[in-house]
């Protein structure tokens, strides 16, 4: 059964729900957001990802209306929201601390926003029951926030921010306070709820795994700028900079000198080592310093020399990290570089034949490595 692919960012006729137009935000002399432009589309699950202090939370607070834009403008459905105070925006936020009102019951917390809209009583009741059902909290309606567990509080915060059916829901590190197992379950729950309600979600996180799991597109940020905005797969497979390649997942970065050759580049990286070849459509000019980024799982490792490989290097196993389902081998080349190779442990441990100090061959295909500019 074929599904239509959800890719509004590829369609030039689509009107974005949110537009950042040359937005700059300064706190005194510090520039938190630097001349940033970005389009987010309806029904997207958009992740802002970056280390702390990269400006992702500032972006979110500007969308919610808690921070004013210094320069540029933000549009929501085509309307400049600069002059609109937070209580008049069709945007709701789920806070990192959840910010549940401790003096109100779960029911009253969820009804809080609806009551502000002066809705009739039975309409409020219906909507609250719907939200309680969506987040599986029916049993806890009359408890106070301090009487429920962390995971339940997180769901109350979500229910409360969704109750007003906002055009846009902002989630500030929504799963930060949960332990790993609960976080993974909740990620899928979030995706499920986002799909059911059809709300546009913008999530702020520093956890790249979380961003990759939930988001339709990820924006990697650093020092107030967008480094790359793309689907999780493309962020991972074809990063456009060393920063992104290094920030997302595990990667081998090989520095070398590139020369254009055929449909890619030949890269010499060390004395006595073979020339590596990588296919790319990108043009780095005729020659110069460049980087190759290769994911460890795309490097195959073997004890015997494989036949007919373009990229083939030899080294000795320095370290083995056994993760249960995977093993990562740190292989030291004769020229000193360490290259990581990852294999799935599909066989029982007794059947594996590689160990410390073993001489091994590493190889990868022409398309496995990504050529990046310096």
């Amino acid at each position: 059964m074929a599904q239509t692919v959800f890719e509004p960012w590829e369609d030039p006729d689509q009107k974005p729900l949110i537009q950042f137009r040359n937005v700059t935000k300064r706190f005194g002399a510090f520039t938190a957001i630097d001349n940033l432009s970005l389009d987010i589309f309806e029904r997207e699950f958009f992740a802002l990802l970056g280390p702390s202090g990269c400006g992702k939370t500032t972006m979110m607070r500007m969308l919610a209306g808690f921070e004013a834009v210094s320069e540029g403008a933000i549009y929501l459905s085509g309307q400049d929201i600069g002059p609109v105070p937070p209580n008049k925006r069709a945007v709701n936020m789920m806070f990192q601390s959840y910010a549940l009102f401790p003096h109100l019951s779960i029911w009253d917390n969820i009804a809080f926003g609806l009551k502000r809209d002066r809705l009739p009583k039975n309409a409020i009741g219906d909507r609250v029951s719907e939200m309680l059902k969506l987040t599986r909290l029916e049993k806890f309606a009359h408890r106070k926030p301090h009487q429920i567990s962390g995971g339940q509080r997180q769901r109350v915060a979500l229910a409360r921010s969704l109750a007003k059916a906002p055009k846009l829901l902002l989630l500030d590190e929504p799963l930060g306070a949960l332990d790993k197992k609960l976080r993974q379950d909740t990620q899928f729950e979030l995706m499920d709820i986002q799909e059911k309600t059809g709300t546009t979600f913008v999530i702020v996180t520093h956890d790249q795994e979380e961003a990759m799991t939930v988001a339709s597109r990820v924006a990697v940020m650093d020092e107030g700028r967008l480094i790359q905005v793309d689907t999780p797969a493309r962020i991972y497979e074809t990063p456009t900079s060393v920063y992104v390649a290094d920030f997302i997942g595990d990667v081998n970065i090989i520095e070398g000198h590139g020369t254009k050759s055929g449909d890619g580049y030949d890269v010499t990286f060390a004395e006595g080592q073979p020339v590596l070849h990588a296919k790319t459509s990108r043009d780095l000019g005729s020659a110069g310093k460049c980087y190759l980024a290769i994911r460890p799982e795309k490097v195959s490792i073997s004890a015997e020399k494989p036949e007919g490989k373009t990229n083939l290097v030899k080294g000795a196993i320095l370290d083995i990290a056994y993760l249960g389902n995977l093993s990562t081998y740190h292989v030291k080349l004769a020229s000193g570089q360490i290259i990581k190779a990852q294999t799935a442990n599909t066989r029982r441990i007794a059947r594996r034949d590689l160990t410390w100090e073993d001489e091994v061959w590493l190889s990868w295909t022409e398309t496995a490595a990504v050529v990046l500019e310096s």
């Binding site: 937070p86 806070f95 502000r116 408890r143 567990s149």
Partner: protein
């Protein structure tokens, strides 16, 4: 590791004796039948009866309560507003000066506060009476309220207010529906503090009271100068009893509240 030793027992006895012997003597002598304060002439409740007939004392007590309720209420409203703007107002122009000026009356000698208020009231031609005492008490107890409330607001999670704004509250609604209910205990204890301060203030009240209104502390102090009457012992005993009941009730209520909270949290963990 509780050990009863003679040393512990002696310290305990001496400490409590130091604190409470004066009050115990006062209570005992309030039941003295004799008119002479220092001579014991048998048990009697006669002075309690006479106290209830004493118009001057009763009207002073009534004035004191009216002043305390009015001034502590006004001081709570003003003090809470001042605390809120100091903690939440960000870095507005003159903030440091403003916060310094709010807390200055805490360390200002009462005589000076009283004198300056007296000069002000004479200057603007305000007749001294209940109104002037209320104004004076509001002035000096407001800073106590703002200290109590601002120490609570410092620990208040700002995102609760932001959440209220986000869900459609105006800034005033956010204060009324979220901030105020949560800081209510601090506001109430601020009110109680202001009430107590007003109740036993002698210095400032004697500067600002007029012939039309006298508070109980002034009345007691001025009648002492004519000799200690057993009626005053009776009155003081009543005050001690009222204060004791108040303190015990307040601590019982807060203890029960915290016990209930703990029980609820235990129940939540079990679920």
């Amino acid at each position: 590791m509780r050990r009863f030793t003679w040393f512990n027992a002696t310290s305990l006895t001496l400490g409590f004796a130091f604190l409470y012997i004066p009050m115990i003597i006062l209570i005992i002598y309030s039941f003295n039948a004799s008119k002479l304060v220092t001579v014991w002439a048998g048990f009697s409740t006669r002075w309690y009866g006479e106290l209830l007939q004493n118009e001057a004392f009763l009207s002073a007590a009534w004035v004191t309560i009216k002043v305390a309720v009015a001034s502590s209420t006004i001081a709570t409203v003003l003090g809470t507003m001042a605390a809120y703007i100091l903690i939440r107002g960000g870095r507005f122009w003159g903030r440091t000066l403003f916060s310094g000026m709010i807390y200055a009356p805490l360390v200002m000698p009462e005589v000076i506060t009283g004198l300056s208020l007296l000069l002000l009231f004479i200057g603007i031609g305000l007749d001294r009476g209940i109104l002037t005492i209320v104004l004076a008490h509001t002035t000096f107890s407001m800073c106590f309220v703002s200290v109590v409330v601002s120490s609570r607001l410092v620990n208040f999670d700002r995102s609760l207010e932001e959440a209220a704004l986000d869900l459609g509250c105006s800034p005033f609604e956010a204060f009324r529906l979220v901030t105020l209910p949560i800081i209510a205990p601090a506001v109430i204890s601020g009110w109680l503090l202001a009430f107590t301060l007003s109740l036993d203030d002698l210095v400032i009240a004697s500067f600002t009271a007029g012939p039309s209104a006298t508070t109980l502390p002034i009345k007691i102090f001025s009648s002492i100068r004519l000799g200690v009457s057993p009626e005053i012992n009776a009155l003081s005993t009543i005050l001690i009893v009222i204060v004791t009941i108040g303190v015990i009730t307040a601590s019982l209520v807060s203890k029960r509240a915290s016990l209930r909270m703990q029980a609820e949290e235990r129940a939540a963990v079990r679920n």
